[in-house]
Symmetry: C2
Subunit: 292 residues, 2 copies
Amino acid sequence: MNQINRVVIVGGNHGNEFTGIYLVKKFHNHPDLVHRSSFETLSLLGNPKAIAARVRYVEKDLNRCFVQLRNEDKPANYEELRAREIQTILKPKVPDIEDVIIDLHTTTSNMGLCIILGNRHPVLLELAAVLSAINPLVKVYLHEQPKGSGFLRSLSDLGFALEVGPVPQSILNAELFQQTEQLIYTSLDYFENYNLGKNLLRNNTLTVYRSIGVIDYPRSENGEIQGMIHPQLQFRDYEPLHPGDPMFMTFSGEEIVYKGNDIVYPIFINEAAYYEKGIAMHISQKELIEIS
Amino acid sequence: MNQINRVVIVGGNHGNEFTGIYLVKKFHNHPDLVHRSSFETLSLLGNPKAIAARVRYVEKDLNRCFVQLRNEDKPANYEELRAREIQTILKPKVPDIEDVIIDLHTTTSNMGLCIILGNRHPVLLELAAVLSAINPLVKVYLHEQPKGSGFLRSLSDLGFALEVGPVPQSILNAELFQQTEQLIYTSLDYFENYNLGKNLLRNNTLTVYRSIGVIDYPRSENGEIQGMIHPQLQFRDYEPLHPGDPMFMTFSGEEIVYKGNDIVYPIFINEAAYYEKGIAMHISQKELIEIS
């Protein structure tokens, strides 16, 4: 089985998500914290211009720029250029052995300590089982995407995101900072043990929330939102939403209910950065996966 | 006694504080909601360019631009220009009778439903007592400032802000939206009754938190923050902070305690927009005011 040669930790893929930024700065000052014997660890700030300006991005969301490149494509803006630089850095040194990518994010949604997987690679599923076994607050969101789909994590079969919240943009919450830090150390320990052939304690059954789509806010013809997340749904990420349950409240106080036929599990409810993307929430189905 | 001729409601003085923006849009669509018989009501979007860009401000914080103008001063940027436009709109129609200004804000701090007063005008103190009597969650922050000190509310002796949180920047929280809306209607009813010579039920004693200063984050020589609000202080706005209580936590997990000699009451703890202003929190003293 292939060994892991390098783990890349990226903070500030979004410039107003402070937790990852200050964690990466901490690792730059104290590289011993993320050093492990069996692989190289590289920690990296994703979007320096956006970090300096304390905004998500300057011209285009960097975390939608990591696509399969053709040689003739020219970067159209700062983020496309920066995505290429990062892709060059992340090019595997050993052919066919991909780097682990840990992409650090925060969200205004009540997602707790969430690991977002882009695929069902057994090494990632086992990592998710290890993290869940150590901390039952850890949730797993399976947002399956092809390689080079735009997300940083999609550059590698061993890429994943840590998505922690609720925390407003542009602030630090000490408790979530420390919990995110702990998830990173546990992940590094897991990869170390994987390389050394040791097993970490883990559950054999993993609960994942598998993405099945997104739902937008009610909007007027000109795109203006006409309502808000219903108070009964706010902060209820990962909880079942039944047909007929209240979903939105219009500005005049009328309820809009969920009209689907099946129970779904909303995630990313009321994420600030998704208003402009036409996303009020992701919806998912709950799935049990056996870890062999 | 002077009557109130006009009440001006401003949303989006900061472009990423959505509650006030969508309330003002609602009032534009339904002017009857803010219409009262004895005065004119004007609702106004503060910073249209920042609202369009979903940022606090474009070039300079608009809510620091409302200063006493001299004729020879030229506006140096968009917000200084916009502040002049608003000052022209707010110029009292009847000399010596100032407009009421209700400036709508949100904060990432746990300030609940806060009315911020810039002075001790008896009409404002009585309004605060009325709002507190109706909803015990209402708090009063007395942040005394001279006229034309930069804040929108400082343009009028009858100016005040409603500061509601905690809510991240760039999102709507339906519950806080409705609570803010209710505070506006109660305020309008109060001014109506004031004009009509009627009294609204109120407390005779008002608890206010009077600003005595601000405290910055621990920082390095180059200005980089070195720590976060301590988990034991996070969300504890209006609660007493005793000498020796933990205040910050460094990125390596060390506690920094409050070294003052007196009990203070922190407010605006961990407000996102204040990182760049060098403010980790405001501190205040608790004061009881008798309303005659």
